[in-house]
Symmetry: C2
Subunit: 584 residues, 2 copies
Amino acid sequence: MHEIGFIRDLAMVMIVAGATTILFQRLRQPVLLGYILAGVLIGPHTPGVLVADPRAIEDISNLGVVLLMFTLGLEFSVRKLRQVGVGVLVVAVAEVGLMLWIGFGIGELFGWKGMDSLFLGAIISLSSTMVATRMLSEGGQRHHPFAQLVVGLLVAEDMLAIIMLTLLTAVAIGGSVQAEAAFTLIGHLGLFVIVGMILGLLLLPRLVDYVAGFGRDETLLVSVLGICFGASLLAAWMGFSVALGAFLAGAIVAESRSVARVMHLVEPLRDMFAALFFVAIGLKIDPAMLLHYVVPALLIAGAVILGKTLACSVGIFAVGHDARTSLRAGLGMAQIGEFSFVIATLGLSLGVISDFIYPIAVAVSVVCMAVSPYLNRSADKLANGLTRITPRSARLLATSYSGWLANLKPVNENAALAAIFRRLLWHIGINVLLVVTLFMLGAYVNAHNWTWFSMVGIGRELRHTLIWATALFLSLPMLIAVYRKAEALGMLLAEIGISERFTGAYTQPMRNVLARIIPLVTLLALGVLVSALGSTILPPRGVALSLALLGVVLAVVMWRNLVQMHARLQAALKDTLDKPEHTP
Amino acid sequence: MHEIGFIRDLAMVMIVAGATTILFQRLRQPVLLGYILAGVLIGPHTPGVLVADPRAIEDISNLGVVLLMFTLGLEFSVRKLRQVGVGVLVVAVAEVGLMLWIGFGIGELFGWKGMDSLFLGAIISLSSTMVATRMLSEGGQRHHPFAQLVVGLLVAEDMLAIIMLTLLTAVAIGGSVQAEAAFTLIGHLGLFVIVGMILGLLLLPRLVDYVAGFGRDETLLVSVLGICFGASLLAAWMGFSVALGAFLAGAIVAESRSVARVMHLVEPLRDMFAALFFVAIGLKIDPAMLLHYVVPALLIAGAVILGKTLACSVGIFAVGHDARTSLRAGLGMAQIGEFSFVIATLGLSLGVISDFIYPIAVAVSVVCMAVSPYLNRSADKLANGLTRITPRSARLLATSYSGWLANLKPVNENAALAAIFRRLLWHIGINVLLVVTLFMLGAYVNAHNWTWFSMVGIGRELRHTLIWATALFLSLPMLIAVYRKAEALGMLLAEIGISERFTGAYTQPMRNVLARIIPLVTLLALGVLVSALGSTILPPRGVALSLALLGVVLAVVMWRNLVQMHARLQAALKDTLDKPEHTP
């Protein structure tokens, strides 16, 4: 009986998971629920202990978090987020905010300490992608209009979850909501996400496609796992959660042409470790403790189901879908799941929440998971019932609201102009972000690596000059792009904003003025921003001025080259993001 | 930087594995070799340590052994073994025996202690399925005739590996080659494998197909993993290695109709954990120690390459293939791999081999893996060269040997008779095994669970009577089947063996006598065997006799029912084993 210690526990868990998955599939219940219950049954708190020391399993289930987040990222993808639409995004933000507030309120009501209430809010704010998408595919409803909305909401929530995970870490480490520390962390986070995404998008999808070209599944899988774990490790080193790194890695790899193959290979791993993850959750639960908190758990579960259903239904209706679709979408979101456990685990591992939060989170999610198939199945009946009891006047109001919304949408020429307008703003935004990133990177290098500089004999001033000059000259293509887009924006605004009806003969000169003013103002604002950002690495004034002058001269002389360089960079990114759908 | 300890090391390993797999794929070198080298590079013995504590990785890489053996089992399958053919089986046994002897001899030559020499023999006796099959598929040679032979040899070696693993455990625990302990263990092993295979074949493929019917990959994967780990755990509890359990589970699941889907789902897991497994091997290696043992390692590697190539080539040629095919097959087998590490790890964990055996095993396998692609690529040149330097007479001899072998094969009527003859013997063998199994199970129950019997007030004699009677009556269908097959065998033998030419008028009576004698002798032998096996559970003589009489009466009265029962049982097994190839 050698080499058995660790394998024994794992084997127990896998056997139980295997039996559970068959049983729950047979009973048409959510399998995740089965995993958790099985974990409780074989856990150390139940008589007839089967797994005495859940430590090893927990180690492995942490792997589950990484792989789970990676596959969520794979399914996320930047393109999907763009497809979600602003309306759904707003609904998701409002709904998550509302649930946060409800959770916090319930915590306060019970007289829990502030951090417990805050984490409770976070725990109940995010629906379970795994539960919801399984329910949709099990019910064969993946292509219903309401399913598209649910998936959109889930994608938006994924993004909010990442933000929330990071903010909670900041808040928890800061001890309380210290504005300054939180802002620094958000700044770092932003830097990490933006630099990571841009560098990642430029390099990784190409790398993955190159490796996929070998045509060997093993090579593709192992290198993609290397990317996934590498990103997790990088995130952890920068002080963020491994979940964030894995998710970003997934979202980046999702832009490669081979994403379908990658998904296919990673799915079995995800399934195995997700099973371990959910069983491990059950292992941590003491049923006696659950019984002790049954009242708050049921109350919170009720709040989740009602709150999520209402918030999502009303929100979806408000952005212009019919009442039945809205209700079904709302019911589809009425549970919590994997993110709740990730957040609760985060709180526990940081030592900022009380012990009872975790079992409550589990109990609430178990109740929601158990209820959700019934909610989903009875959605039609519920909709019919609601229609019957709604007064005629309210129904008329609803119909006229939908009609009014439909009329609001811009049409024809205006719509085309609006699209151009949005694209220009989007381009300017991205380029400004890139410039900001470059200067912040410069500040970062300056702050961290200066022993290295002094070793090669570079003093403080020279170092500042070097970094600042590098950042400035690397920014040149982006600055020029901003100027050009701002020019285009100015012309567009001049065309739309200054109507011949009002200005008569002055129309053309006024248009010219507006078209010139906008790029100049933009450049000025950018200059101020850059000097503010680069204040820590600003060289002596004289040097800075001459460098800036040199920059302007270079920009004018090399204008065409720089424009081309920017175009190539943009094309590379665009090529990655606009690839055709899933061609293997 | 929370939850990081264990993930950090794993991430390091996955990143390095990812980079290695791309690099080695690019260089067209065996990726497994790359994993091992990468492990050495990031290991605790190399300056610039990246993974300081390889313990956690080793825990996980043990998982790799289970999954590796499971997939080997999946690819093994009883049907394939039957297709391999007796010739290849004999070659494999001879070759593995030779390599065992060579390894042992080399160990003795270096003056190592007996156990070290024995393990060295075992380590170098088994070729690497992973290296060999990859080489074949990378070279696009999977369907060459020589590739079929290599796969056949590998399948046969897999079986031998399982036997060897168990015997080594027995020998190591016994301290030396104690005949009695070894035989008891072999008995137990046989019981475990036979009962496991028969019960498994009756239940598990049906279960897997049932679960596959749900049409959900996750459910199928998790339940198959449950089976795999369950079997491993069971094997460990019975005192065998987890590798054996996992392999048997794989071989049994391989008989389900959904094996292609299962394989597809398990492969990514296998790839991930195999990468971890091989990197973990590298982690354990101290390059300084390797340098110290470079001479024996090179010598042994040479012995492996020469010995395996020669033994396999000559063997394959001897059973009737042409010289070129034989040489290519031999070259394809000229490496060692995963089994070597499993055996070395077994020796280490049992504490019976010296520390230097493991690094030597790794060094030898690394040399072989590095050389094998070149051997494979230059196989044709080698064959041409050999043909040129072989004297004409030797070539003539070889050609006439092949011709003589081709003439030896039985043809037409004789071939058909021989086939019937083999089938009858095979049926009798299986049924005898089943009877033996039942009685041994009875003895096992008797030996282990007797407190349970006395609790319900059953004394020693009554217990014996009960168990013996149960075993006897459960054996009835098998005993009758043996009798009927022996009858058929007798008639067949009488027909072939007693020729009218010699016996004249006495032919028919003598044939009748022979046809009767054979089943009676068989039954008698069976009776002796059963009483010997059941001696520990034999009830008082009077009871035993009356039970036996009752058995005979029952057999005669219920003859037809029992025959039908046996037929149904046989049909169920046959149905599992003779299913059409891979229909999903």
